[in-house]
């Protein structure tokens, strides 16, 4: 069990997401999704990747830092993202394809922002 905070979602491989990773996606489990809720510590807006770091409390109450990598900014902007979309301290819920090795990281699929707005989709990457 990864964490009580993680809702493991069996994933049908459908959808329209396109991952623009510059590296191999094999380390991510494209067949599964997990949902993590935590507090943003850093949001980097950039190319070839944007990323989010957030603190997530596990089932023992211990806080761990998660890394979530995203598509490049030049693609995210077409999906409604802006450099100002996230700031440290924001409470968010993010759905990712998790790392296969249970390390605290994943490939971004979607996010629920503090105001309830949702960005992204939960389709798989193509790579």
């Amino acid at each position: 069990m990864r964490s009580e905070l993680l809702l493991v979602l069996a994933t049908a491989v459908v959808g329209s997401g396109v991952a623009f990773a510059h590296h191999s996606p094999v380390v991510f489990d494209q067949a599964h999704k997990v949902s993590i809720t935590g507090t943003v510590t850093e949001f980097k807006w950039g190319n070839p990747h944007s990323w989010i770091h957030l603190d997530v409390k596990d089932e023992r109450g211990e806080v761990g830092s998660w890394g979530v990598e995203m598509n490049p900014a030049n693609n995210l902007v077409r999906e409604g993202w802006r450099a100002s979309t996230l700031k440290p301290g924001d409470k968010v819920t993010i759905v990712v394809h998790p790392l296969r090795n249970n390390e605290k990281g994943g490939q971004f699929l979607s996010i629920k922002l503090p105001d309830g707005t949702t960005l992204g989709n939960e389709g798989p990457g193509v790579l």
């Binding site: 590296h23 094999v26 190319n47 070839p48 990323w51 090795n101 390390e103 990281g105 193509v126």
Partner: protein, 261 residues
């Protein structure tokens, strides 16, 4: 300067002039020099200037490995190591992820768009992926002397027109950190890689179709043939994209302990 030092310096200079001087390389007119551009040439059958992107869905795979192949023993070692890593959910030598250039042919099909700028004497390509640059010379020059050329990940490309087809011959690759796939079939591209591309502009100028023929006797037997298509992007610009350490050190996909380097 002391007398002894002065005498020694003069002696060294005299000695240097006594040796034969190496032949200096004379460079032909540059591809964009006015004298080269204004030379009389047949009009190009088509102009590839534009922004293009490999078909992401419904078309041929972005990968350049055929379904069946026979590798050399050295390449087979890498392939087997890659398969073993995959079986464990790991990645074997994802050099692109660690900021090495993808090189030809993968630079053409990575998901980022690329720009082509065509002149009578050359086609300049800038990829949105790590801003890799590729130049296809069309001014009639031959491949460079192998004793002069500096091998590069996109190689040296020489193009010529055959009817309505642009035929591009590319060689002179570095032979290290260069692969035919990424995170899948770990087949290395050696310094003997040779690529011939037959390019056509189809679909009313909206699609480039490229037939690839690739040989690499140090990595596989025979030639590999495949076709890729690239669609014109009307509402896309490429950006400056650099693979930098500060980005990689913050990404789970490039720092995971499941990466075998």
């Amino acid at each position: 300067m002391p007398v002894r030092s002065t005498v020694l310096l003069v002696a060294l200079l005299l000695g240097a002039t006594a040796h034969a001087q190496p032949t200096k390389e004379t460079h032909p007119p540059g591809a964009l020099s006015p004298e080269n551009l204004k030379k009389s040439r047949a009009a190009a059958p088509f102009d590839l200037t534009g922004t293009w992107q490999h078909e992401l869905r419904g078309g041929p795979s972005w990968k350049f490995v055929p379904e069946k192949f026979e590798l050399t023993p050295e390449a087979q070692k890498h392939y087997d190591a890659g398969r073993a890593a995959l079986a464990e959910g790991k990645v074997y030598r994802d050099d692109i992820g660690q900021c090495w250039p993808p090189g030809l042919p993968l630079i053409m099909t990575r998901v980022h768009p690329f720009v082509l700028m065509q002149y009578p004497t050359a086609i300049y390509m800038i990829a949105g992926f790590e801003n890799s640059i590729r130049i296809i010379y069309l001014d009639g020059r031959a491949h460079s002397d192998p004793d002069i050329v500096v091998p590069s990940f996109n190689g040296e490309s020489i193009g010529r027109w055959e009817g309505n087809t642009l035929v591009v011959d590319t060689k002179y690759f570095p032979g290290h950190h260069h692969w035919l796939d990424q995170g899948g079939a770990s087949i290395p591209a050696s310094d003997a890689l040779h690529i011939v591309e037959r390019m056509k502009l189809i679909e009313n100028g909206e699609t480039i179709e490229i037939e690839y023929t690739m040989t690499d006797p140090k990595s596989w037997k025979g030639d590999w043939k495949m076709t890729k298509r690239f669609n014109r992007k009307h509402d896309v610009d490429i950006d400056e994209v650099e693979c930098t350490p500060d980005i990689n050190e913050n990404l789970p996909g490039t720092t995971s302990s499941s990466l075998i380097r």
